[in-house]
Subunit: 200 residues, 2 copies
Amino acid sequence: MDRGLRDLKREATREALAKAAFELTRERGLSGFVTADVVERAGYSRRTFGNHFSCKEEAVASVAFGGVDDASAILAGLPADLPLLDVLLAVMKTQFTTDALVRMRELMAMARRYPTLEPHVLGVQQRMRHTAQELLGSVAGDRYPTVYVPLLFGAVYGAVMAALEGTLDVDLGGEYDPSPASMDYSSFLDITFDYLRHGF
Amino acid sequence: MDRGLRDLKREATREALAKAAFELTRERGLSGFVTADVVERAGYSRRTFGNHFSCKEEAVASVAFGGVDDASAILAGLPADLPLLDVLLAVMKTQFTTDALVRMRELMAMARRYPTLEPHVLGVQQRMRHTAQELLGSVAGDRYPTVYVPLLFGAVYGAVMAALEGTLDVDLGGEYDPSPASMDYSSFLDITFDYLRHGF
DNA sequence: GAGCAAAATTGCCCAATGTGCACATCGATG
DNA sequence: CATCGATGTGCACATTGGGCAATTTTGCTC
């Protein structure tokens, strides 16, 4: 996606700002700091912050955007005629790593504390969904009806997010557990895809 | 949900503000008006607006929140031992009416025009999802494993939203079509549930 | 009805935010 | 190395968010 050094620097700026905003939220809570604090920590100007994000919340949420980096690499290792359901399972296992999910989960936990954060967390999830869905669509080709891909992907993504939310409900009120020990991601995916494969 | 007349009036205020914000977005675009214009049209004070919404976007998005109104009425007409999949199908057909979907679709179309709107549209979707999921969970009882309900519901909801988004892609660039003629909602649900029932 | 407590709305105020503009700087392209 | 476009910055200013206290409205009880 990124072509040259220019884009890399831009991304670095964005990530530095996002990281600073995220850490400040950890330390002082969402209302415990202002944008000026963020840019001071990251070493940029307030105006630059505005060039990248429209508000604090957007910056905080953006840290959980683990891009679907090297699509070609993942797909290269798969047989071209692999059923789409299995391709999707592979993508979900390799792209949505537990690391990415842990980050996302912490963000979702934050969103419970600070309601204004939630819409932007959902925005990040939406962008990730679109990215991965396009990836899946590119390998589906014309093997399946047009509704098949968004339907299938919507189902899987919805299930994963619902499950992730479920792990947040176990520790209500108190501090959240940054590691989702209550969910075995890999086996959860197996159960999910078993349902999808054979019906509910 | 609402206790008395007091809550009704509060809701009326909220809805009046939301409606005004929504119409102003239609007429002038999201950046073509300020909160002062909204409260002037609705007949309230700027401060009151702040009591209900944290920003313009939230107000605009909230118009699409069609609450799952009378849960008991819907469920009363269903056999107690109806398989959950069929209960869900009934809920999706009666609660998520085409009217509600048309509103949601227009909002999603707006969100494409005005990116800052998107997170809040997703927030509304999220709230609707939770409401309906709780409703479903209340009738599931202990007939199914704990993961079954969120998994199933996540799948259906994800599929519906993905399909709804799909209808937006048909008219790219130009004006959007407020009526989703390209999607026959009822038969779409049938196809979706057929996949869920018998596997992908 | 009359009175009262809770809740909603309002006005005031000010820090925080969003954003247009002009300008300097740096990477990309040839 | 010369030019162009994109990025970061400083400044200015309208808009916004939200605390506080006063005021009105509502629901309930007598």
